[in-house]
């Protein structure tokens, strides 16, 4: 095999890819998506479990609800939220024309 880099590396750039104004607007929207998902993360990772002792007396299919959230509910939220995030961020990329070619 040849002792060379394969050609997939991007050469270092010298000019910005988009104008600064678009860049700022893009970053505002990206940041707000980040905070939204971060809030979801906090809710599913911590917030809902603050109430575990209170909701544990409710049983669904045998599961005490507080236990169920920590064992399954929050995990489902995590997975769904991440697929949603990936899709939403792609839409934002395309809205501002900053997606990869």
């Amino acid at each position: 095999m040849p002792l060379v880099e394969s050609g997939t590396e991007r050469p270092g750039a010298t000019a910005p890819a988009i104008d600064p104004e678009t860049g700022r607007a893009y970053w505002r929207k990206t940041s707000s998506l980040m905070w939204t998902v971060l809030a979801l993360w906090f809710f599913a990772g911590f917030g809902v479990h603050f109430f575990a002792p209170a909701i544990n007396s409710i049983h669904v299919l045998g599961f005490p609800l507080g236990f169920w959230f920590a064992a399954q509910g929050s995990l489902v939220i995590f997975v769904v939220a991440l697929f949603w995030f990936a899709r939403r961020q792609n839409e934002i990329d395309e809205e501002f024309g900053v997606q990869e070619d």
């Binding site: 002792l3 991007r10 860049g23 575990a52 049983h59 045998g62 990936a86």
Partner: protein
Amino acid sequence: MSASNAGTKDPFINSLGKIYAGYTGGFVAFVILLAILEQMGVPDRIIGYLFVFLTIAVYAYIGIISRTAAVAEYYVAGRRVPALYNGMATGSDWMSAASFIGMAGSLYALGYGGLAFILGWTGGFMLVAILLAPYLRKFGQYTVPDFLGARYGGNLARGIGVTVLITASFVYVVAQIVGVGIITQRFLDVSFTTAVFLGLAGILVCSMLGGMRAVTWTQVAQYIILIIAYLIPAVLMSAKISGVPLPQIMYGFALERIEGLENTFRAAGMTPPPGVTGWHTAPFIGANGAFSWSAAVNFFALVFCLMVGTAALPHILMRYFTTPSVREARQSVAWSLFFIFLLYFTAPAYAAFAKVEIYQNIIGQPIASLPDWIKNWQIISPYGVPWINIVDANRDGILQWSEFRIHPDVVVLATPEIAGMPYVIAGLVAAGGLAAALSTADGLLLALANALSHDVYYKMIDRNAPTKRRLVISRVLLLIVAVLAAWTAGNAGADILFLVAWAFSIAAAGLFAALVMGVWYKKTTNAAACWGMAVGYVFTFGYLIWTEFFGLSFVELFGTKEAILAAARQTAALTVVDPELKAYAAALVANAAQIQDGALSWFGQLILTTDSVTLRGRCVARLWTLNNISGGIIGVPLSFLTIWAVSKFTTAPSQAMQDFIDDIRIPRGGVRLVDRREAVE
């Protein structure tokens, strides 16, 4: 989901689906063949050998055909791993022997408390996806310290990053090699040291020749085996106990039955065995079953540390350098979490079914007539105690609740026998556990060796080193680190497994803040990041060592006089301890009236009290009753705070640096590096 692959011309990438479908089919056929062999009377031991050796042979084969001499292939698998496959590879990179074998057992012992591991080890990927992975991918070099070097002005930041990386990853890889040793020892019947070096050979053939490229494609193969091996016994167990082969749904009824049985036991005046909760589904309770602030604080602190640690462990982050695009990096994190979710979603079911089976059919039986699977596991484990320990404390010949002591690892390893499945399923579980441990060890070793060869040797020592020498050095370092880790594992044995939890706090406190602020806070200066990493790392690592190994002296500073007396009593009662310390503790106890509150005891009582517990044969101190496994809960905010504060007082980053940050924030275009020499050529 991977629509962006449709355009690739690469025949190898295009045929991945076919390759791995064929591989999965082959593996299933192999398991069926072994099942037939078992029915024909082939001894269990041969079945065990075939499982271990044939799976390792497959990994080795993939490792050897993926050998490479191209730097980009060696470090980042040529950046052409599609999101879905990178997700699978990350899944097995992430799920270690502790996840595969240990987690269900922890849930068995801790009940609700153990769910902190489930939450922490999944939720962290949210942070990876939104805060780091896409931006590190856009930055597009080889390692995590590369990013620190480019963003924070060179070798100082890079060096601190490498130090944190090596501390966290080395501790972690040693534990994986111990895991490999435990499984190999049980199924091949060889000594622990031999088992460790056999496992090491298995790890090295995967990563040595092909670096990241080989590790990626073996990890995908290992994921497939480990998930099959984890799900099948759970499905069979669920069918046996509840009649429906859907463990994730049916274990709700098992939980209900556990609650009922626990109440019955308590009504009969019995107590749970040491280390096992008596209220399986109850959140945040102390030993008496009542709500405990300390338990609640520890639960959330552990969730936080595991999450942030996940998002800072370099062997995970570096996997997202290998996708073809930023878009696929984001997609790939979602897939990673999905594949990890499949296992973690099932783990509590293992715990519940095993508990129902034991509480229902074992407790209360005459000890003389226990089922065979219990007798099979009453052998000494590498931890020095029997896997299952029956202690007839009241000598009535009947097994009480508190007399049945089971090592957590047995819950997964013995499930096939509990459910009366053929030996081939036990062999399958061993192959799965081995795949989990090997894949994680591979990822970690590569992260370590790359940090040393790429960051330390190439970037800090000899920037003109030719490609060929760089790759030779990578491989030599890989070998050295691997042998060093195996040597440590062989000597320290299973006693060091608690160190794994430390890796999360250390990585979280050392790296997370600097990485996140580097992308999200433009004003972060070089000095601030270096201080932030150093403060987080030194503080957390120091805190861990101090509380773990010098518990009494910690309490003497932060505790009240009552806490100091209690710690002195615990220290004096230890069996294996430095005689000088023991004498000192005994003297404290003898002169109890003269003990004063610690000098900083006001700080130690700020939130909850400071105390100590006897753990792992030591007197371990707990600031605010926080277990030191969650040491990062203080280190992480401290690191953020330091970076923010120092940034206020140092000169803001140059325009060139701001341009660099602008570029890594958007997927399109190239990256304007501040220092052109930082570019991968």
